[in-house]
């Protein structure tokens, strides 16, 4: 690729980084400035540095554990295995010193801890910059202790990039020696990956990955799937495999290693596809969470072709339709959408005929033909590899409420307003007419407009605003121009300025049973709509927030995770996550929504002239507390004052201002 091809991406990726000397110079000057400024007024003592220390300790422990594992085969230092009880920072210093001595390096004039940290930092930066050659040259004239630090660090990251880096460094620095540190570390990493396979997998979190190793530090946990790509004769095939967002290449032996997808559907399945290198053979496949990750055999077969002619209800051919192939498993959709572009080639001609080439088979497929207000689904169950299927004439069927006579000439417009009839600037609003979904946003004055809508057809409209959640309602246009002001209310609005409703939860996960009364005298930030599968980063960040709340003193954070069935595997995974991440703010699993069915007020929709007022009080599967607190967006935050009175529902983005206020910033 030339830089001119995608210039924005290239500029974005251009990176410069500081040298360690510069860092030292700037930091020491800035520290001096800080001390100077601190002398003018003594700071009040605050213990929030604990957060930083904990984060540092996590890294140090990680390093320590890594060292322990790696040095275990060497009979020299069994004592390091028994140091588990030692305070982390001491242990790390000891390890640093120890490794220097064991590896025959003179203890330098620099204190071991600082030296160790400085080099580790440089190693991390080079790796983060993807500069493995730079890492090799930096390490070239460094003592073995640095090699050890690098090897341990890379092995702890534990992803394929780190593995590649380890192997590359092994051959660059270790030469022919198969027992050089990096080769050992790579082997160790492989074996760890093997061990990890049976364990639950947590999603890779890109946002956190880019976070500096200051407040939050995560260690990737991933598994890999090993398999072979073969043809119908059992011969190996070179090619490409995609599974969810993961991608891998099969080599000349047909062998591939692909990262286990992070996001399974609720059925524990992920859709994948494979093609040979020439694009002649292919296959759809479904990967299940419980499948054998050591032996995924994918048989690629000749591709299929589907053709037909589309007509309207008067049997006239039309050409303004859309085609979409979806993949099914059992009765439910596993996958809808494309992975890196559709693999097949679609052609639609003016005479209404269409032709879809290069369709892989292997799973149940469904063809959807649609245009606004019309949709026909055709089951392609009979499609087998190499097939050439002609579907003949296909009539496009109107969706409920639509017909060939439906006029698409209506406009709806108005203000989106809050509980006090004030406009909500830039409120979100989406509209669904049949299969057509229009996503819009009100302007700075809270004004929205939709045009080209179907007349006398039920529309689904969903206004949204931070702290107000989604407020769906149905509406049907009876006029060409319709003024419709939409009033929405904050979540749990009926409870504002009253004693906050009690938390109805199934169990507390990391503390004794609590009630809101336990927090009398403190402000409580209640977080609902937590879902560890979707919001790992949030849970980690809340954990950080909690530590700072503790430092502030009169602020408590309480979380309620959405409902999980008693005895479901998800609960164990969540518990493991809480342990691993040391989640220490009180966290509960919500009670089933059945528990509160009677307490939920019905939705209300009041039409008054051109104004419609929507109060949604959803009985949600997320659970009892979620239903009572009218959680219409996830996550949702509620502020409860020291007297136990519900003050307001705050959106995630507003928390910082809120907390800043409480901190007096």
């Amino acid at each position: 690729m030339k830089p001119g091809d995608n210039i924005e991406e290239s500029v974005r990726k251009l990176r410069h980084t500081t040298s360690a000397e510069t860092d030292e110079r700037i930091l020491s000057d800035a520290q001096a400035a800080l001390r100077e400024s601190a002398q003018s007024r003594r700071p009040t003592a605050i213990k929030s540095t604990i957060a930083a220390l904990v984060a540092a300790a996590v890294i140090i422990i990680a390093v320590f554990i890594g060292v322990k594992v790696f040095t275990a085969p060497a009979p020299k230092q069994p004592q390091s295995l028994t140091q588990k009880q030692a305070p982390a920072s001491e242990a790390a210093v000891e390890v640093a010193k120890e490794s220097e001595q064991d590896l025959g390096v003179e203890p330098g004039a620099e204190p071991a801890e600082e030296k160790f940290e400085a080099e580790l930092k440089e190693i991390k930066e080079l790796f983060a910059a993807g500069d493995i050659d730079g890492l090799a040259s930096m390490l070239f004239d460094k003592p073995l202790a640095s090699w050890l630090a690098a090897a341990v660090y890379l092995a702890e990251i534990g992803d394929s990039q780190a593995l590649e880096a380890l192997e590359k460094l092994g051959s660059a620095l270790g030469g022919d020696d198969p027992n050089n540190l990096f080769a050992i570390a790579a082997a160790e990493l492989w074996s760890r990956i093997e061990q990890e396979k049976g364990k639950p997998v947590f999603a890779e979190d890109d946002k956190l990955k880019s976070e500096p190793a200051g407040l939050v530090r995560t260690i990737d946990e991933k598994s890999y799937i090993y398999g072979w790509l073969i043809d119908a004769n059992g011969d190996p095939v070179r090619g490409e495999i995609k599974l969810g967002v993961s991608r891998a290449e099969a080599d000349a032996d047909g062998a591939f290693t692909i990262r286990e997808p992070a996001d399974y559907t609720k059925f524990g399945l992920v859709f994948g596809r494979a093609f040979d290198a020439n694009g002649n053979l292919g296959r759809f496949f479904v990967w299940g969470r419980d499948n054998d990750a050591n032996n995924l055999q994918i048989v690629v077969e000749p591709l299929a072709r589907v053709s037909g002619v589309v007509v309207d209800s008067n049997n006239n051919t039309i050409s303004d339709f859309r085609l979409k192939i979806s993949v099914f498993e059992t009765e439910d959709v596993v996958y809808q959408g494309s992975i890196g572009g559709e693999p097949w080639k679609t052609q639609v001609n003016a005479d209404g005929s269409f032709d879809i080439n290069s369709i892989p088979t292997g799973v149940r497929l469904q063809l959807a033909i649609s245009k606004p207000g019309f949709k026909t689904l055709i089951n392609l169950d009979g499609l087998v590899a190499g097939d050439n299927l002609d579907l003949g004439r296909i009539a496009l069927e109107p969706m409920p409420g639509f017909s060939e006579e439906t006029q698409w000439n209506c406009s709806v417009f108005g203000f989106i307003i809050d509980e006090n009839n004030e406009p909500l600037p830039r409120a979100g609003i989406s509209l669904t007419a049949g299969e057509e979904i229009i996503k819009g946003r009100a302007d700075a004055n809270g004004w929205y407009e939709f045009t080209g809508l179907p007349r006398e057809v039920q529309l689904s409209i969903v206004p949204y605003f931070d702290g107000y959640g989604d407020n769906p309602f149905h509406y049907s246009c009876t006029d060409v121009n319709v003024r419709l002001d939409i009033q929405i209310f904050p979540q749990a609005y009926d409870w504002y300025n009253q004693t906050a409703p009690a938390l109805v939860v199934r169990k507390w996960l990391n503390c004794e049973s609590l009630t809101l009364d336990s927090f009398k005298g403190k402000s409580v930030l209640l977080c609902l709509g937590l879902d560890y599968q979707k919001e790992k980063a949030l849970l980690r960040n809340l954990n950080t927030l909690q530590r700072d709340f503790e430092a502030v003193g009169d602020l408590a954070l309480v979380g309620v995770h959405k409902y999980i069935d008693e005895g479901a595997a998800d609960e164990d995974i969540l518990r493991q996550f809480i342990d691993d991440e040391n989640i220490n703010f009180p966290l509960a699993i919500d009670e089933s929504m059945d528990a509160t069915e009677d307490m939920i007020l019905p939705d209300s929709k009041v039409v008054d002239g051109q104004k419609i007022s929507i109060k949604k009080r959803p009985l949600t599967e997320a659970g009892a507390t979620h239903s009572i607190y009218e959680v219409r967006a996830t996550p949702s935050f509620y502020l409860i004052n020291p007297d136990g009175i519900l003050i307001t529902c705050v959106h995630r983005a507003q928390i910082e201002d809120l907390v800043a206020d409480l901190l007096g910033l």
Binding site: D29, L215, L663
Partner: protein, 180 residues
């Protein structure tokens, strides 16, 4: 970001660890922006130094409105402009310490090699200062056009124009077409 507010809160208490965290968090972005604007690695590091030291010095009176990153970038740009103005008519060479490329995207993405990064840096250096500023701030600094417009005290349209013209020009420099 809340994290930044808390870091500043700690920094106000004299917490050196917070200082280190802020520095670690933003130094690469700031240095990249500075290097691209000034085309001289040493000067860029000096600017980074000055920005950080004066930020720390004034921390007692500091109040954060909006994003800390943007605040620091704006300080940096102002300082870079001062330097740039002083040596408007000097010819500046590229410093020896070349750019390195970050954010490896896995096997499917093409990687920008050192050579290409160098070409790109040189091409950026040929752009008029204001166009370069917009491109760098938007793409590397992650600033929105609206924020850049406020900073440059021009309209958003002007900023977008500068961005588009700048990119076009950059593209033609890199493709080796003559630039008028």
């Amino acid at each position: 970001m809340l994290e930044d507010k808390l870091l500043i809160f700690r920094l106000k208490q004299g917490d050196e660890q917070a200082l280190r965290q802020i520095y670690e968090k933003y130094k690469d972005t700031l240095l990249t922006v500075a290097t691209s604007l000034l085309r001289d690695a040493n000067e860029a590091e000096d600017v980074l130094h000055d920005v950080f030291v004066s930020f720390t010095k004034g921390i007692r009176e500091f109040r954060l409105y909006g994003s800390l990153k943007n605040y620091l970038i704006i300080c940096l740009v102002n300082r870079a402009r001062d330097i740039h103005r002083k040596k408007m008519y000097q010819v500046v060479g590229l410093d020896g310490t070349g750019p390195i490329r970050s954010d490896s995207d896995g096997p499917t993405e093409a990687v920008i090699g050192d050579e290409e990064a160098k070409l790109l840096t040189e091409a950026l250096a040929q752009l008029p200062a204001q166009q370069r500023e917009v491109i760098i701030l938007h793409l590397q600094g992650g600033m929105k056009f609206r924020e850049i417009a406020e900073m440059q005290e021009v309209s958003i349209n002007t900023v977008q124009g500068r961005y588009r013209y700048g990119l076009d020009k950059l593209r033609s420099i890199l493709d080796g077409e003559p630039v008028e």
